[in-house]
Symmetry: D3
Subunit: 286 residues, 6 copies
């Protein structure tokens, strides 16, 4: 009888202590710059209990979460209405995990949360390259005058990463000027992920950060997001992409962002997020 501890709320199969863990899972429940429909702040809270609808074993990767050593820190706690303090907290936590010699998987939150975590990875691994899977370019210089926005997060990463380091896939929405800008600054594949295998091939010897905005999926598969953009990829295509990512042994960190669970009362979108997190955790695991 369990008298002395509240039922755990960790993601399924992630019950290793921090000290023993090779991978740290944590949430960044922030949606403060969301222009259309907020709610990604609730992603972590929805994901953890629903993860128990999955098995720990992946028949795709033929690996099991129970064979990995993963610590679930839970969601970070943020003040409201102060974007800069939030980003700072994420950066500090991400940096410390990397300094402790561990990898991390961050659960969003809106996409802006990737800025400090990619920055922390870059500070630790200066030769960092980024694989960005998304429906949106996220390359705006600013959004309504605000340089720190979910619509400009990859542009902000380019500020320090520079040309040739960012690889974008599945993009099907943006300003014409963003698509034009990308031609000379990033690798941007419109609509599909067909060039992913060759990109993965070319990145075997460099540290890689993978950021997955789940709205890359078709809204039929993933309606629970702030800005549904029809015409996306299928879940099987995403699984296939993760299969390619698994051949990369140098992924240092990753994130899965933009689940807004309250927009999908069926819970299917939360299940999509849970399964993607499981597959990415197994991809990060040795």
């Amino acid at each position: 009888m369990k008298n002395n501890a509240l039922t755990t709320n960790a993601f399924i199969g992630c019950e290793t202590a921090y000290e023993e863990a090779e991978i740290v899972l944590f949430g960044s429940p922030f949606d403060g710059t969301t222009s259309f429909r907020p709610g990604t702040r609730f992603a972590g809270q929805a994901i953890r209990p629903d993860s128990y609808g999955l098995e720990t074993y992946s028949p795709y990767l033929e690996k099991d979460l129970e064979d990995a050593r993963i610590f679930d820190h839970g969601d970070l706690e943020f003040p409201f209405g102060n974007t800069e303090r939030v980003l700072q907290q994420i950066g500090t936590y991400s940096g410390q995990v990397l300094a402790d010699g561990k990898k991390f998987l961050m659960i969003g939150g809106e996409h802006l949360v990737s800025l400090p975590s990619i920055r922390a990875a870059y500070d630790t691994f200066p030769n960092l390259h980024v694989i960005h899977i998304d429906a949106h370019t996220d390359l705006r210089e600013d959004y309504m005058g605000e340089p720190l926005s979910h619509a400009s997060v990859i542009r902000r990463c380019h500020d320090f990463l520079g040309d040739g380091r960012i690889f974008q896939f599945g993009i099907r929405s943006g300003l014409k000027s963003e698509f034009d800008w990308a031609k000379t600054h990033t690798h941007l594949e419109k609509f599909t992920l067909e060039t992913l295998p060759e990109v993965v091939n070319s990145l075997q010897d460099v540290p890689v950060y993978v950021t997955i905005d789940l709205d890359v999926l078709d809204p039929g598969t993933f309606p629970g997001t702030g800005t549904p953009e029809p015409g996306g990829i299928t879940y099987r295509e995403l699984l296939e992409a993760i299969g390619h990512l698994q051949t990369l042994e140098n992924i240092v960190a990753a994130d899965v962002v933009e689940l807004s669970p309250q927009y999908d009362p069926s819970g299917a979108s939360t299940a999509v997020a849970c399964k993607t997190i499981r597959e990415m955790l197994l991809t990060l695991a040795e």
Copy 2:
């Protein structure tokens, strides 16, 4: 500071004045003959604000709404419970727009609203041909004794268009007698849109009206409709079809019908309607 005008409620990128416009967008919020689940009357009201979740630029057609000249008239205002007066109003407005030398895109409403608008196009362009993308045949002689019904709208169009003018795609539901009737009166492709390119090819020299019943899409992609019919096309297939339509320079008018937004609390179906309207507006634009 905008002191003197209420925030516009126009579809994104459709703020040209009527006089300068080449295309007129308007809504026909009628669902009076819907047999199963009403609610398409709310489509226009849901579509306009959610259109701001899209960009004005289409990376598919590589065109931008901001480069077109489009006037959004808003929804027509109808009395309730009087089908004939409603149809008359739609016909009058459609006819006037065409008489002014403009094209139009109508937002449904249930599919019966296409009857007066196709009639108006036929009155202006007697050689009119119709491309009909839908899950349902819509070829009944009557529905429970009522000749004016969403289930008989294409049959009513055949009454004046005659044989060889109607091209149906994606059809996967109907009476056996409707499928039989179609064999000698229309071009009807079951389940898919594979013959669309050759049909488009054959229609290069005649005026064309395009009517898209969004329930042609699989309910997974588009659950927000009155009569979901599983097994439909994907959104990518619809985008590809619109790509073919863009090669037609003689589309005189079009409609996008049967969104029932309240059946999809995620808003993904409304996003599908918005994106389809954007792509069709760009297809109509010079």
Copy 3:
């Protein structure tokens, strides 16, 4: 004027009397061992009225429910909280229908309801083979100590059927030990249904029971279920599979299980269940 009888509540096109019927449709509204989200008890209640959103004619199979002789018994009535009595009732009813020389199609309920109906078919046809279409292996020895569970239903069937009689398709979730066990005891195809045509071919001369757990479909297509598992098949793939099943003349019974209508407010999942039931009834019909 219909003064003397309440509006029928039968599934569309299923109004033959029991005595004249070749096929019996009935529901087993039980969800008592559902581990995650209950609600399949409401499937039958949701399916019957919504079946009128379909036509009786299938353009896929080119057959019509009105040409078959089908009796709809409605849902069985169960006590609550007593799993064994429920299973016994299902077995008794299933056995009686078969004893009367009829086929049946059962509407779940959770997947455990297939245990007594498959047992009844086995008792009548000792050489019974089972085609099992599902996302989950359902091969556990027990679930939290309970041998009678929706997660162990196919394993319980193996207890009496033995090796070589069970053919599983579309499976994408289970314990590693279940996948390992299946290697020597069942035919198990992961993820897809590609081997179905050859399996169907090999079963032309034996009695066959078909059990379809609708969660084999991708949650985008079928969110209304207790345990959504992303990455499933499309509805077109399921239709194609049913096309293959139609070539089997010795299907003695079938079931369609695991719709939880309240998890899909759009009703699209209920429409999926209705259409699958129509297609399976036509497959069972002479």
Copy 4:
């Protein structure tokens, strides 16, 4: 074992055959003139299965449905888009029930369905008086030019009933001109039902029809309706009013209208309608 009959779909405790019945329950699933949010067509379909969440016994009236003789005819079947034919069907059925010496309780539908049933009662009992419990005056001469509308139904009844026959309670919404008109033509109590006991007292010797628009209740209690109007009565106040009505022995017919079940996913509004129907049936019963 029930082999030969589909599970009944009658309202709980209403299983008497028509010939033996003293009271007939039937539904009029029409919402064709609803100006704001349609959906009352689904009321009957929602009410019957959910009625089994109630008991047949009323601890308020201390009577039991099982002691009354009630036939449930189910919902009438209507064509769509033709208001006049619908009203005619209701009138014919209502008239026949009264001609057979029975009372009836009609389930709406929108309030316009009361017009033909009150007319039928008036044709049978020319001295008919009407008790009208509602949030809205329903006294418009027409609505957007249409004389047959849910907003003008009581005015249309006044056309044949004349002054002094209509008693309105709970009214909290209408045009100023409607309130003014009522001063000389009806008894209209604003906001509350306080004058009901004395009105009931004055109607002991005349035939009475009771029409209850459930939107008289506060939307907190009854959100599932097309036009929620805050500030309504509590359910206890409605129960108290029905207690007064029970002292009337000459109620010849009644209706309960304007449930739109899909606007209340909790089902609480449907429960309100069910309980009101039970109490009114018991009030009609000898």
Copy 5:
């Protein structure tokens, strides 16, 4: 920085360790005999995170959770489909808490979970009296042949408590035979809680268990429950009742049952449960 522990999931203000606690909070997520709409198994999971929408301070009782010593054990873990094992687990845990000299507050689950916890309290305090606040009598001898049911839980308690020990308030639904039976075996107040102060007065010197079925509240206030019963008490009336209960110093345990959070997408019902739990915890606290 919190590196070594997952974010707590305890009810707000309940973070004392078991050993130091005077009160233990735990959940019994069981809904296996629910006849109508299941879902109370999710109550605990919904209540804990939403409790942070409250303050720890009660301006009604002028007490603060932070001044009490409360341990939150979380939800018990049950197998599915085996009612007797579930009840046994609840009884064992309840008994141990009492044996350790602590009080407990149990969160349901359906009302049947109160049977083993009341039994455990009775075994510890043989002179136990029960205050039962509910919409339903819960006095059936059995339900469809099953003696262990949420509809018979208080009758089962009477089996060991006997006459004169059970005090029922707010009851507005049941069989006529249940109301009749209650006349000689329990104190039963219909509809309201007016006799509660005098009953509380009479129970000053005996051990008391309080069981609150939240469906005693009007469904307008509390729609999120399996069997909504219109005409209930207001939340202010429940607060007033709890004010009276606070004068009892000998309440040894209590429960708050029948929240089904998924039937109330607004979350207001969960807020009602949270606030009731806070007030009852403060009532139990010294």
Copy 6:
């Protein structure tokens, strides 16, 4: 035929031009510091179309919006993620309206939007007094270190208004320290609005701002809000309070805040907001 203007989106009866208006209605769609559930940014967008479910005439105040001169400016447009710029914009707009000699009614948004509008009123009318109707004290010095928060908005107003200027009603949630602080700095009535008439009486000669946080209502009446707090006032009590406010001739501005429409799929909460806005507009009107 209305060819040249999009269907208006103004609140019903508010179509006077700015120059002629005596009252200005505008929205502040900001929810950036919301700690629990965001969504008040959508209030204005939901309120305007649903206002047409109301009449312009109030039978309570016996006044009609059509007799007032009201301009609806629509919602202000804000950047995201920058609280200070948002507050500045509200302050500027509010100030200009007052400078033009008009009154205003602001639609929230979260309660923090009242800070700049009250400040603007104070700058124009230095002797300003504030009537605050709310469930929450809103008197925190800061919230998680952030001084600008919806939980501290009234405290921030006290910073410039000082003691004796703030009158709080209906308060039922807060820290103990907030209730204690209020004893010497504001007039705070717990739970009810009973002292409102006498307060109104005492404010006949000073300029008054009225801020109504709709969560003062019971969540049964108003579930569509971020932080539902059970035990609130009824809508009739709020109507009665507004009746008292109408006797004040010196209300210079007002606001109605905290509707989160997406938490109430029934739309009843939006109807509550619409009706409150109508009554407050009529109260402000001469």
